[in-house]
Homo-oligomer: 282 residues x 6
């Protein structure tokens, strides 16, 4: 396995789950709060995993017992981008132009999770605020432990969330009134409520169980045809943003190439022979 | 507080919830059923509240014990727009042109709730039929008391609902089969079912409790930065109707101006000082 | 009633539910698995029912105790379209062009259920895999019996589902994480889970009860104004794929003609006279 | 004819062109430059003409020899909205919120020309800068005299044009490079160039001829079925903003009512009888 | 060559242009005016040509000297669909429903030209009114002779054009003011004007020259790789209806299969060897 | 001026045109044909210029007398991506996945011209084939010399153009029939035809004059407010891809920040004082 060494993340390849990468946010002494260097690293990692043929699914977790992530490192941000008087010689329009470039770049980093061609399972625990939500909704499946404390925290620092939550959460959870309530109040919600509204797929007892559950789910997905799995992720994300008719049209073109894979006959033959199929790398 | 006096609505500003307006439909002897003058007033009220700097969130309720609203006043409508022989000298195309203008105007009135820049919480009780649903889905959050009886009633008068329910309900409730069932059958559903499918956020015992709950929720929202709150409403409504990518793009432009608010430093400082921030009017 | 005779489907008109057609998939010895001739028939049936004035709603079920449908007849497909070496003299691009035509044609057949102007209720039982899901999500309401076993099975044969599931399921069920999980893993889920996430509207004890429940629901819908019912189906499907504003605009144009129906006065008069209205054929 | 009296506009009904309204911008001593009161009046006029059954088409011109309009009255604006220190106590976010409301309101006024159900022909002459272009592209047909001097002037006052030119000009003129050049440089262009790129339909010698040409074109349109004419305007504007398929779908619903007009038989009969048809008011 | 025999059309395969089909509207005694049977045949022909591997491009012309087509056979239509009292026992809503089905079916027939996978060149001459325009804009390239007389004729029979002109003409000709003028006035325009605005690509002296020019253009296209040609038609039509970004995305998926064609190496090798490539059928 | 040194491009800052960058494709011995290293460099250059505050507009030209660019270096490509047997051990689906990644990356490089915040003027001369068209349509304004020979060349190598031409050309030139003809035939067209259809804005005698003309146009744009210019580019590109209504909405949000620039008062004051304004860097 090639060398994935980063400053703020641990990337490992658990031997018991073939083709699965485990990405761990690793700044536990700061509750895994994010500084700019971290979202740049996050993007680099997921971009690389996206085309690594030895990876078929990915698990994302946070180091330590206390927090998946406390979100943006507000202290660092308040000395930088959110500072009261940054670039004070600029007029408001020029400051806006600079801010826009910065937000675009930040959004692009988080979107690398969604753009990653392989499914991403996120296992959440403890504190999971603000940017933790932006990150979670860019992933494909969310699992959590029972101690998790979520909040769409941005209004509490005077901001509308702009790194993905407001764009993606209404498409992840089909309960628009609930989305509005949690985004407008910044109130905390826990595992049970998250499960009820569909923000998470399953609740585990402790963090370790949630991480284990995520690895097993990722492992299961990694046993399937990578042609089929990566096509399914792409087509579901496409459908989310298009009409049914557009979805069907894009699907025909996609599958006109993908149905030609040898994985179909491999899968069919394995089914007949009652054995597990193996698929070539992709 | 300026003077908000209307014929069919009471608009008050409850002193215990700063920056909150309370709009009450007030035609209790007719179960708050709507005649044309009422939706014109409704629109005038919400348009005015939208830019009133002393208002940061709004609660909408119905007067009396029996009904939030029985919907369209069918008797009045059947003598007017829905009359069997209106404008009998016109051909069908010309009648269609007149009807179209009328429906557009009616829709615009109800859409004033959605267009209102401040969050709108609706507290529903008793009878809530037809137009009551159109109104509810144009609001941001729906609460109710346990005695509520909802129905998308329009098919029972020979009509497809055209004032907003069919356009907004599928985006409010992420259960398309349920939406189809209640819209195609006009059957009644109660508080528990409404909560389960996500049509309402919470169920209260009695009307008074629901109204009180709505006022407290509105009050909580009104303590937050109005720049953050109004941006959140706008961006969530925008996201509902756009792809994730379009949502992100619009968000960057929006926030390139809004992040320059002093509310950010006010909120951050209050957080450090453990006191409640105050925000300038917007 | 005109003669609806088909090779793989039984089409009947149950006398106890006026204006209701009952379409039964009838290949029970093969678990109602689909071969090409069947989806062509399915399309012919729904296209015809769509404009048959004596039909106002439709129930779709599967014959036999064991399966609504096992999906695509994989054995037949593996000798045809999914064969390892079909048209082996063609280059990949030409094969892709042929496959694309084929998938478009297959999709169009299943979409005939959605395009059918009358509501379609599907009653699911036993095995319901792969294509059974594509078919279900093209219908308006899904009911099931408690023994049902669902799976979005396609990744298990090396494919991304391309006949409708990936385009429609995320719009039917507002829980994107769950949709991704079941589509990426091909795991089975049962009636209770299907109800919880909103894939089905109701669970019945046995198949017979589910079919009976579907017929009664279809019967109830068939008592309503067909102008109102068909408009409601059309406008809800339109709204699913458009912004709220586009939905409202289309609705005004649609209803500018439809409000001119005599069904409105018929319905209003019946309401006053406390009797059941009758509506002309459409 | 009802009374259309306004402060900054003359609205007349030239007897030689039945059903035609002539709207003249009337502030010739200021080169017909616009102050806020004027765009509010403009909107009131076109909204009223839109539903006036005695009007079937409209001509818009500017009073005086020198200018159709010099655009925004920059002097007035620089003391108001564009002032260097307006509302200087507001932070940039709050100023942005106020500006946004103002721009929306301004845009809505100009869009009243496009929303007007009847075709609008604009006859341009002399100076036609900035806002004159925004207004022109909201109309249906542009004619001009040979002395006209156009410019998309906004970049010369430090602004991107925001009242319609940047949104509509690329859809009016199918030459994107030319649109970019004139918008990025603010350079002047004349009648011949405007004709060549398709910004105007025809060039006349003098202003009087252009106005007369516009009245005759409007008069010709006013002899046609108003059902057909108003449908054509609506459907062409709809098509501009939608796919071909969406255009076709909307057209079917529109015409399902409109084809029922008596104008069809009136027109067909007149064709057979070689006489001019008359159509009822709409 | 297989047998293409139709009642109202001649379909031939001119030997001097390999892979080219020539479709001729053949009802010259009625100026090639269309009755319902004709558009049904037209659709059958183009659907069949679309997948006929021996056809790579198509020319469409009208028989006789006087007219490409006078459009809809108004006499036939006025006894049928456009009759003053059709189905007089139906209410307006039911008539609208029937009309809608009819218009959809008519539109689909004409759209078969656009959906045809091979490029369609139309050569226009003489009278070309109403439906002739709807048909022309569904084709890929329009050529004409100098005697042609075009008109978007529908408003003269009390209708907004609904079979494609209003949806497609604004996308074919990038001069929105001109499109509005000719559609709102129904005025005639000739070859020179059609060339100037881009409605036709080239003007020939006489009909025979135009037909010959069309056959040569079709013949040239038919010498190219059919994979490349059919992809180009599909991607250009897709781009017309989508954003640049959507167009690019669809293109990548399309070409990920199509670039695998042997036609690329065949074309490259021919280029090196200075000889004409041959391509396999598609 | 910072150091812009690249292998295949010359980037200079002509002293007579302040704030203008001149990018020259520099591989004249190969007719400026592109190999992969070149489009990667192109992207790096435009991404860097996009945020370089000392640059306000950009000119793109080709070195040497003979060619702006002969397009893709087909010889290099046929040994790489377009090779007959690349990665021969992969099945068609896996090859398609690799090709898709490659095309996306190639498209992104060319799109960097469009994404560049500053206007890009391209001056074309001599041979300008295939990729030269993809590049040109990603720029804002196209100028040329009279000797230019254009062709959308891709069908001649068995491909549908996939790096931007098919997505952007129909939006640059409002003559869809002409676009189809040149894309389906790969025929050459010259300066005069390019001017007539609007592909280029102006034709100059020789290459040097075209380059000089481009520098002067860029220089003129660079004298304007950069806030206004960059906003105009952004809003015009946005409008191309959106409805008028969406364009207006985005414009309001954009300008709510941008109108706050000091450039407005600087421009207004300069206008009054009849002197040239200066604007701060952006």
């Amino acid at each position: 396995m090639s060398n994935y060494t980063y400053q703020h993340f641990n990337v490992t390849f658990p031997p018991e789950q073939q083709y699965v990468a485990h990405v761990e946010i690793h700044r536990p002494d700061k509750l895994n709060a994010f500084i700019e260097a971290m979202w740049l690293e996050l993007s680099a990692i997921f971009t690389r995993l996206s085309s690594d043929p030895s990876v078929r699914s990915i698990v994302l977790t946070g180091a330590g017992d206390r927090a998946f992530s406390a979100g943006l490192d507000v202290k660092a941000a308040s000395e930088g981008l959110l500072s009261d008087s940054p670039e004070s010689d600029l007029d408001s329009a020029r400051r806006a132009a600079h801010l826009r470039r910065h937000i675009v770049s930040f959004q692009d980093c988080i979107s690398s999770i969604e753009k990653c061609e392989k499914p991403v399972i996120v296992a959440l625990h403890g504190i999971a605020l603000g940017l933790a939500i932006d990150i979670s909704v860019a992933a494909d499946v969310r699992l959590c432990s029972s101690d998790v404390r979520f909040a769409v925290k941005e209004v509490d620092i005077g901001l509308a969330a702009d790194i993905g939550t407001l764009s993606r959460l209404p498409k992840v959870v089909g309960n628009f009134g609930w989305v509005k309530e949690v985004a407008l109040t910044a109130r905390t919600f826990g595992a049970e409520e998250a499960l009820r509204v569909g923000f998470v797929n399953r609740v585990f007892g402790h963090k370790e169980e949630a991480v284990q559950g995520a690895l097993e789910l990722a492992g299961l997905i990694a046993t399937k045809s990578p042609v089929a799995v990566q096509g399914t992720k792409e087509l579901l994300n496409y459908s989310r943003d298009h009409t049914v008719q557009e979805g069907l049209r894009y699907t025909t073109v996609w599958n006109s190439a993908m149905v030609q894979t040898k994985d179909v006959s491999a899968a069919l033959l394995s089914g007949i022979q009652k054995r597990k199929p193996t698929f070539e790398k992709l």
